[in-house]
């Protein structure tokens, strides 16, 4: 059988989600953001929420998420995405409302809004990309930068005395009464991509069902910021990031009830 016999519409088992439009994404080659964007688009399509989805994009590399996924979007000031999502969901409870934020946005400048939105149990989904660096501004230290990790603003490696410790915020959020589902995933292997997609789907369903806050942390790479190839960045993540940010569900209220 020739390739041309296989490549027919009726044989297609994987296609780009229609909501992810033709625009070239500005992300660097190999960036995890692209994978997560794709998953967000796929889940919205599979749940049939195209007409009811509202995303809140952050300040950071994902600021232009609104250019790539064809739903309605709000673009928040730095760190304020969950505050915006709070109001949006409260004013329109029948909508799917989610934020898409990086580590600087969610866990540094937006920490106050992040914690309080989760603590109030706002029925929003939070997608939190943790790549331990500020990508958009050129590779500065993030709240989640690992000890010893070199960035533009800790060029000799993060040192606890000078720079404080890396912040693992997701376990804090899991302790709050308002969170329904808190998980930490990655997208560096096909199996992990599938798990992250399932997590995003659960988070979006929780939002639609008004069940409280869902947080999907995606431990990600920033190969440009880390100055590694995409492949080596994945390896570095496995060897270094997962020790501080281990993968898995941190809280799933519904699982306990089952």
């Amino acid at each position: 059988m020739e390739n041309n016999d296989i490549i027919k519409l009726e044989n297609r088992v994987y296609k780009r989600p229609a909501l992810l439009n033709e625009a070239h994404m500005h992300y660097c080659p190999g960036c995890s953001h692209g994978v997560v964007h794709k998953l967000v688009a796929e889940v919205i399509e599979e749940l049939g929420l195209q007409e009811r989805a509202i995303g809140v994009s952050p300040v950071g590399c994902a600021v232009f998420a609104y250019n790539y996924i064809d739903i309605d979007w709000l673009e928040a000031a730095h760190g304020r995405a969950t505050a915006m999502a709070t109001a949006t969901k409260r004013l329109m409870p029948d909508k799917l409302v989610f934020t898409y934020q990086g580590d600087g946005d969610f866990a540094a400048i937006g920490t106050c809004e992040s914690i309080h939105s989760c603590n109030r149990g706002e029925s929003i989904a939070i997608i939190f990309i943790n790549n331990a660096i500020y990508g958009m501004t050129g590779g500065q230290m993030a709240p989640t930068t690992l000890l010893g990790q070199k960035t533009a603003t800790c060029p000799y490696g993060r040192c606890a005395d000078l720079n404080g410790y890396p912040l693992s915020i997701t376990p804090l959020l899991a302790q709050l009464d308002g969170t329904r589902y808190v998980t930490r995933q990655s997208v560096h292997t096909p199996a992990n991509v599938r798990k992250t997609k399932a997590a995003i789907k659960k988070a979006f369903l929780n939002s639609m069902e008004g069940k409280g806050t869902s947080v999907v942390e995606v431990v990600s790479t920033c190969n440009t910021g880390w100055k590694l190839t995409p492949e080596k960045a994945n390896k570095w993540m496995e060897e270094n990031m997962f020790a501080k940010y281990p993968l898995g569900d941190l809280k799933d209220v519904d699982a306990k009830n089952e």
Binding site: Q50, E51, R52, A53, I54, V56, S57, V63, Y66, D70, I71, D72, W73, L74, E75, A76, A77, R80, A83, M84, A85, T86, A87, T88, R90, L91, M92, K95, C112, E113, H116
Partner: protein, 361 residues
């Protein structure tokens, strides 16, 4: 016809007027001297009646960004605060103006700078009228001088905000917010339905119903030419507002030899000053700017041509006076009088200042 006369605080009247306007949501953080707005809303429980959302946010920063989101969804949303909180809200003010979303913000001013005092002040005039955040922008600034105006300016503020896709700011002070006066509240209006909002605000972020083209509310534009065009569009709107929406009150200006320009609580005190002056044979008139931005340049310039001097009493160390001097192009003496730090002058203090600075100068 609703003509029931009630007695309540300015802050409470404002809260009640908002519910009756058909507001969709309030997001705020307690700060003296405006906490009665949130307290009244929580007490009234409008979510049970009109479906309005009321939320005590974790900070003024969060509150203004909640308002930013609600406004981006085409909803009638508002927040209220006092001076230190308003400083925290400048980020959101700038973003909302840059995104051209219609919102209502209330600043019940207290004395500053810093934590300052909880008593009345007008020292946020520059911050309110000149754009306290970054970039070239203006909110429409309304200055109530009575409890009735605290109630009435809610509807006016929102109507202007939706007309121009602008931010309306009610700039009150601790005196107007805290004093009790009689007030007639507006009739209850129904909240707009989602369909009505989609029609009135086709740009609103409400989800792509019927798969209409997506709506994005953002203040970001990295293409310099496009961002310049955005700025030109904002400025064109501001020129329209300046042309159409200047509001002011004139009192006894037909025959006056001296003019007082004052707003808010100071205008009320100055009214008594005028009375006292006229009893002594000194003909004093008053221009009370109701919109501080756009500023009533034209009436002040006109009246300025035929008076011997202008006194600008403020609860600020010389802010309003700059706009008055610009209006008359310094062709007539313009004198300043202030009380600061939460102090409020008596009418005779203002009269003495008028005599000292302009009549006997």
């Amino acid at each position: 016809m609703n003509d029931k006369v009630l007695l309540m605080k300015g802050n409470e009247a404002l809260a009640m007027a908002a519910i009756r306007y058909g507001a969709d949501g309030y997001f705020g953080y307690p700060i003296t001297p405006q906490s009665e707005v949130l307290e009244k809303l929580e007490e009234e429980m409008p979510w049970e009646t009109t479906g309005m959302v009321v939320l005590q946010a974790e900070s003024e920063v969060a509150a203004i960004n909640m308002v930013y989101a609600g406004a981006s969804c085409g909803k009638a949303v508002f927040t209220s605060t006092s001076s230190p909180g308003f400083s925290l809200m400048q980020e959101g003010m700038s973003y909302m103006c840059a995104s051209e979303v219609p919102a209502l913000v209330i600043n019940v001013m207290r004395g500053g700078p810093g934590l300052g005092t909880i008593h009345p002040s007008q020292a946020d005039y520059f911050q309110a009228c000149k754009g306290g955040g970054h970039g070239d922008y203006h909110p429409i600034v309304l200055a109530p001088a009575s409890v009735q105006e605290m109630a009435d300016f809610v509807a006016l503020g929102w109507d202007l905000a939706f007309k121009y896709r602008a931010v309306s700011l009610i700039l009150a002070d601790g005196l107007v917010g805290q004093m009790m006066e009689k007030v007639i509240l507006p009739e209850q209006r129904p909240r707009r339905t989602e369909e009505e909002i989609r029609k009135q605000c086709p740009w609103a972020v409400m989800g792509r119903k019927d798969m209409r083209p997506k709506n994005i509310i953002t203040s970001l534009e990295l293409d310099d030419d496009k961002m310049e065009a955005n700025n030109h569009r904002f400025q064109a709107t501001y020129r329209e507002i300046e042309k159409n929406e200047v509001r002011f009150e004139l009192v006894d200006t037909d025959d006056c030899d001296y003019l007082i320009v004052a707003f808010g609580s100071m205008a009320r005190i100055a009214m008594k000053t005028m009375e006292m002056a006229r009893e002594e044979g000194i003909k004093v008139g008053l221009v009370r700017p109701i919109t501080l931005w756009p500023f009533p340049v034209q009436p002040i310039a006109e009246i300025g041509k035929r008076v011997k001097g202008i006194l600008v009493p403020e609860l600020a160390a010389g802010q309003l006076i700059e706009d008055v001097k610009l209006a008359v192009e310094c062709k007539v003496p313009v004198a300043h009088f202030d009380r600061l730090g939460g102090n409020v002058p008596s009418p005779d203090e203002i009269l003495n200042a008028l005599k000292k600075e302009l009549i006997n100068a």
